[in-house]
Amino acid sequence: MSAEQMLETSILLGLFVLLAGGYGVLYGLGQLRRRRDLVMASFASYGLQCMVAAAVLLFTPLLGWWKAFIGLSCALYCLLPPITWRYLTLLHRLEEHEP
């Protein structure tokens, strides 16, 4: 890995997590406020995350094992904010309905 590649890869990995956070936060806010624009923005954030993941796979010298990890994480992460949100709201609803 060259010096330039080291910095580029690191910045891509940081963006990967930042965009994942953006997806989670915007999705949560969108659901909470029932605002479609925020939910769409969250999906846009996820789209960008996928692009970053693609850049990691195509252009960085990370070992194949780590590339597989990034690719798989990105694919699975798609489901994480909706599942987390659904579980969270379900939990609160159950709590409200219990005496």
Binding site: M1, M6, T9, L18, R33, L62, F69, H92
Partner: protein, 463 residues
């Protein structure tokens, strides 16, 4: 008010004072990077650095202990068992910290002998406190554990949060014993030393602050107990599942077997997950309340905790945790940037949030509000983010010039240290450090004055 809560206020006061020592130590160390002979030889860089990082550990730990003493009586409906002993230990701890810091500043170092180890400096980063003080810390932690466990036993009551906390107290105390052995083989010594540092910071402390935040959320946002407990179990499971073996991400350049690098990289790559869960939970809780509460400072600091932890621990950590990058970034200012951000987000913001909660009750303020808290919140966070950004630039320059291009030779070290990317980053860090220090002064002013003047409760419009 319970006696335990009065003791908690003393712990909070001590925490904020030592926070100040940490800030001063940090400012001196940051100035040393810009003016290398600043205060030398009276207070050299290595001593300022010790004050900075040991101050950090002490103020956070006293903040945690204070938070537990604050919440414990309310949680169990009775006075904390052995609170007088706890009070004595508090004064012993304060005296020990004062003496240790005074020895660091005035004596500074000793020979490579037993006397120096027992009375001046143990010589291991983060646990420099001399042996006598280290024994004192163990005693304080044991009494603290006794207080928690026996209060629950006497109350004949157990909650999920307390059960998690009690289990966590065992490794919290036991891991500190790792500060004692004198191992001559440096690889073996560092191998075990990282158990102490990593397992405290990325495992047991995470669990402890998780319990404290759970208790705080029930007061701050009236979040139902069952919800905070279920989230606590999930988050603790994820934190421990990823954090324990994430230990391997420290095992660079110290002679540990290579397999640790892959293990550490893999497990620490999962570490952002629980942090993201916390952020989503925080968005939900604060969002359902429309960010409205009778204690805005506490809520904002709690939100800063969730986001700061995610960014500092998750994003900053992920940038450098895969072995191919960690190989270069390890031990540079890049790591320092990650450390500052993660400690701030994961722990400092949470402790400050709990202090505001305690002040509201102590001062009987229906609504805790002031202008100063906004200033301190803004200045501290801007200062911190600025420092973290500057350190990141300097650290990347180090990894780039010194490690990746220069191959870690002495000449490469000097080249990196004189690179404008590095030096200007250090100047910027100092400037933002000053902003942070001003924020600290505002914080102290606010903590002393907030809630002393009556603020009318907001009139809530019917839905």
């Amino acid at each position: 008010m319970y006696q335990s809560q009065r003791l908690a206020l003393k712990y909070f006061t001590a925490a904020i004072v030592v926070f100040g020592v940490m800030v001063i130590g940090g400012l001196i160390a940051a100035t040393d990077f810009v003016q290398p002979r600043f205060l030398y030889p009276e207070l050299p860089f290595n001593i300022a650095k010790i004050l900075h990082i040991d101050g950090l550990i002490v103020w956070l730990l006293t903040g945690f202990i204070g938070a537990v003493y604050w919440f414990l009586p309310g949680e169990l409906g009775r006075e904390t068992e052995g609170v007088r002993l706890a009070e004595i230990m508090f004064w012993i701890l304060c005296a020990a910290v004062a003496v240790v810091f005074a020895v660091f500043v005035l004596v500074q170092y000793g020979g490579s002998d037993q006397f120096a180890m027992w009375f001046i400096n143990q010589g291991r980063k983060y646990v420099e406190a001399p042996r006598w003080a280290a024994i004192g810390i163990v005693l304080v932690m044991l009494v603290f554990a006794y207080n928690v466990v026996f209060t629950a036993i006497r109350a004949r009551r157990m909650t999920g949060i307390l059960a998690v906390m009690m289990i966590d107290l065992v490794p919290l105390v036991v891991l500190y014993l790792d500060a004692f052995p004198v191992i001559e083989n440096m690889s073996v010594d560092l191998y075990w030393w990282w158990w102490l540092v990593h397992m405290w910071v990325e495992a047991t402390w995470e669990v402890l602050i998780g319990c404290i935040v759970a208790l705080a959320l029930m007061q701050l946002l009236n979040t139902p107990r069952r919800i905070v407990e279920i989230w606590l179990y999930i988050e603790v499971g994820l934190v421990l599942g990823t954090g324990i073996l994430g230990l391997g991400h420290h095992y660079f350049w110290i002679g540990t077997p290579q397999y640790w690098l892959g293990i550490g990289g893999l497990f620490s790559a999962f570490e952002p997950l629980p942090l993201l869960g916390m952020v989503i939970h925080a968005v939900y809780d604060a969002g359902t309340q429309h960010m409205k509460t009778t204690n805005q400072p506490s809520l904002f600091w709690m939100m800063a905790e969730a986001f700061g932890n995610f960014l500092g621990g998750g994003m900053w950590g992920f940038m450098m945790t895969l072995p191919q990058i960690n190989l270069y970034s390890h031990g540079t200012q890049w790591t320092v940037s990650h450390g500052h951000f993660a400690f701030w987000g994961a722990y400092a913001c949470g402790v400050i949030s709990v202090i505001y909660l305690a002040l509201q009750k102590t001062r009987g303020a229906e609504v805790l509000e002031s202008g100063a808290w906004k200033w301190s919140f803004a200045l501290l966070n801007i200062g911190l983010i600025g420092m973290v950004g500057s350190l990141l630039v300097s650290g990347m320059a180090q990894a780039f010039y010194e490690r990746a291009i220069g191959g870690s030779t002495l000449q490469a070290f000097i080249t990196a240290q004189s690179s404008p990317w590095f030096t200007q980053g250090m100047v910027a860090r100092l400037a933002f450090g000053v902003i942070f220090a001003v924020g600290y002064v505002w914080l102290v002013y606010d903590l002393l004055t907030i809630g002393r003047r009556r603020v009318p409760a907001p009139i809530l419009e019917p839905a």
